[in-house]
Assembly symmetry: D3
Homo-oligomer: 132 residues x 6
């Protein structure tokens, strides 16, 4: 169920279709995922998000798998079902091992616990952390 139609290639506007083509060529796949088909109702937003994702997720000071781990962490904390699924799959496709996945989960679980405790006690930030 979605709040918008999932637009197939044949029904997409030319500007959206151009983005679909770019996604399929870049990822060497024959179809695009539901996220892009949903976003295609707004070709501008589709184009912006795809281009920005390409820019941000390419390997740089952080490698591709590390970037996906960070993406999964944010998506989990934000309770985004779709994003958790798609980026867990992406992380595996880029080489995340089962051992790395288990440690990712342990860190997410740990952070969730201390986040809750620090917020619950409203612990004042130690002076030495300040960089401003």
């Amino acid at each position: 169920m979605a709040t918008v139609p999932l637009i197939p290639y044949d029904e997409a506007k030319p500007e959206a279709r151009a983005v679909y083509d770019n996604i399929m060529q870049t990822r060497k796949v024959n179809d695009v995922n539901n996220f892009w088909k949903a976003l295609a109702h707004s070709p501008d937003l589709l184009k912006h998000v795809w281009e920005r994702a390409q820019e941000v997720m390419k390997p740089g000071a952080l490698d591709a798998v590390t970037k996906e781990l960070i993406y999964i962490a944010v998506s989990t904390a934000n309770s985004c079902e779709y994003c958790v699924h798609s980026h867990t799959a992406a992380a595996r496709a880029k080489g995340m091992t089962p051992e790395q996945y288990a440690e990712l989960q342990a860190v997410i679980a740990m952070a969730s616990t201390t986040n809750a405790l620090a917020t619950n006690m409203q612990v004042p930030v130690d002076k030495q952390f300040d960089q401003s």
Copy 2:
């Protein structure tokens, strides 16, 4: 401001003081951060959190900096002020470079955007992501 007193070493119960000693020895510091001084009102919880943190954050399939990046990502999405500060400092202490920090931010920003869009459109998860 906190909801609990920040308990200094001299006023801590013996069980809490033992954890303080362990923290100071492990980290080679002369005092413990506010988080631990707040948690010390419950020595059981203090001990559990410290021991689990040691276990989870040690280098394994993921290196120490990567674990801190994940911790920062979760803490940011959970809006935990204290945790964002303490783990950004920890990441730097463990070697996070300015370039890695900037890329971490770009990934967090990107994930926040697509999380919001996927949730906003309630995009159905693609079948091929299922592992169950």
Copy 3:
């Protein structure tokens, strides 16, 4: 799947049925949505929520569509699947255009990005914003 039964009209308690009647008359429909059928296990809560919703969502200093856009924005940030769906439908029923929807999404996406960045850097609030 729900944590409570969805109570049909015939099985609802009289106090709940009175609210169902009010909803159906107000909205000129023959049945009430699942949200109300779920809430009907507590007629007090059902009555309070329905009455308050009527009061809050009626056009005033803000028109009806603008109120629904705000509702969608909050529901998206809170990851409420049901609320995103029902208020996107409500916004359309009240006249939200596809262009407005696309801009709503762009603003939600933008806000999600800067929310994450401001929290990630713990940017201190500029003095001039203070109204207290």
Copy 4:
């Protein structure tokens, strides 16, 4: 307190300074807010966020005040202190009246209540909402 230095104009890199100049000219002010001074440690991210914000927040199918109301709603649900402050100020500067502000709050409060209730009961989405 921030996790990064707030970089004043004189110490900003040329690429960051160019963005500062653009912000000051666009907004007809003599200095930029802390958010931009914090983001300036990464001139790329600074430039991207500023340019995208300009694009997204300009009046279109939704007027400038409505866009700020949506921004405030998202920032509130995401607990972003800085963003709530800066966009409440922006909304007022663009013409938000006290009456609109009070209604914005009432809608945010209402949505927060029904978000919690729908999630708490895990109400299944009514079939008729589906657009996919």
Copy 5:
């Protein structure tokens, strides 16, 4: 710092002042907390929130302390600094013991961990939990 003025008794509108009087009489105090002074810019919202809070928080099937513990739990998960502080104080005033507080924290920490893990793995809900 606040986005609105904190309105003292002498400057409050008559409708707001009536609520202040009611709060001070009910709680046997000489002044009202900042939350009410902030909300007083909208006497309607102030009146609604105060009256609803009185109704909801009075002892019923759940005692007064249990209600405050639930309130703290929600406020922690929602990262509401003000609410965490005011309801931790309220819980203590109504009799919450240090032992209960420590256990509250342990449950919040535990729930935060399993929430993150269940969301991270997108665990399908067991059929037997369904009540709809």
Copy 6:
């Protein structure tokens, strides 16, 4: 749909199977819930979470039902579908009455409203709440 396989007893590793046995004996059931079957891909994490849950959720200064109410409150605020379902079932199994459930919901709804309002106005915390 899940990001990991749900591992049945016969396919679980010995360390995971030992935890399954412990769960089934403790709860006097013939199978374990999906959450544990998902977590079983990491026997270490499975063991840690189960043992900690046993420790935290046992009656102490707070009774078993109160702990489940707090768990539901956190899970609702964190939008964890699985956790809301499993802990609502657990609360009922431990004796939560329909009246207690309705009041739990009313408190969660109330807290969600004031959380949003306090955050929206960024109300400064009253000095007298400080315990640090």
